[in-house]
Symmetry: C2
DNA sequence: GACACTCATAACTATATGGTTATGGGAAAA
DNA sequence: TTTTCCCATAACCATATAGTTATGAGTGTC
């Protein structure tokens, strides 16, 4: 559950408002919905919906305390993204190596 | 021009069809639109549109040769993504360090 | 208990988006 | 030149999405 496919992550982070919320949680730590709404240029329900999607994507965790909900970033959730970019780079380098091999063989 | 904001990248990679096209280009190297269309489960115009978006995001480059267009991945384009995830992790670690400091100071 | 506050959900709207078929432009083949 | 082929664009459609306002559920405060 703490692990998510790249698809959900990319989709969740594709929206600027959502990415901004996540960035704020990463930078400033845990915050209530109210605090997050102040500063986001959108209404509180919009913020709540975005937080719901981020939570579903595993990017944030929530904690209920009295009548307010605190959200915080789950930084581990970014791992699949790092893996994916790493894989793409490795593919690319592998093809590059093949090309080098080919050129070397052609050179002889 | 070869550098793009994370926004375009996230949006471009959020769609599964588009991400699959990019992955194929990373894995198998340069390919024509026809080759890419075969295997993608969508029509040729759809593929062309996706490739257009990937190109606009700086993720692919195209090369015209006769009547066919070859696309290839521009792997450097992923750099802003790597930077972004790295920045988020750094923020997180910084806050973690602050917490550690606080706990240490409280411990004395 | 009555009221106030915080957040989530419902209901709705407008736009963005991903797909389709139809068509056109340019290069190769006949 | 005519025809064929490859790709991009146009026009269109259905759905997804991001926003809004209204409301409700749960919790503290008076």
């Amino acid at each position: 559950m703490t692990d998510t496919s790249p698809d959900l992550l990319f989709r969740a982070l594709a929206d600027p408002s959502r990415r901004a919320l996540f960035e704020r949680l990463c930078m400033d730590g845990e915050q209530t919905v109210g605090a997050l709404t102040a500063g986001a240029g959108i209404s509180q329900p919009a913020v709540s919906k975005h937080l719901g999607l981020l939570k579903q994507a595993g990017l944030v965790l929530d904690r209920h305390e009295g009548r307010q909900t605190h959200y915080r970033a789950q930084q581990r959730a970014l791992a699949p993204l790092v893996d994916w970019t790493g894989r793409m780079n490795r593919f690319w380098e592998a093809r590059f190596d093949d090309l080098e091999d080919l050129l070397k063989r052609m050179d002889q």
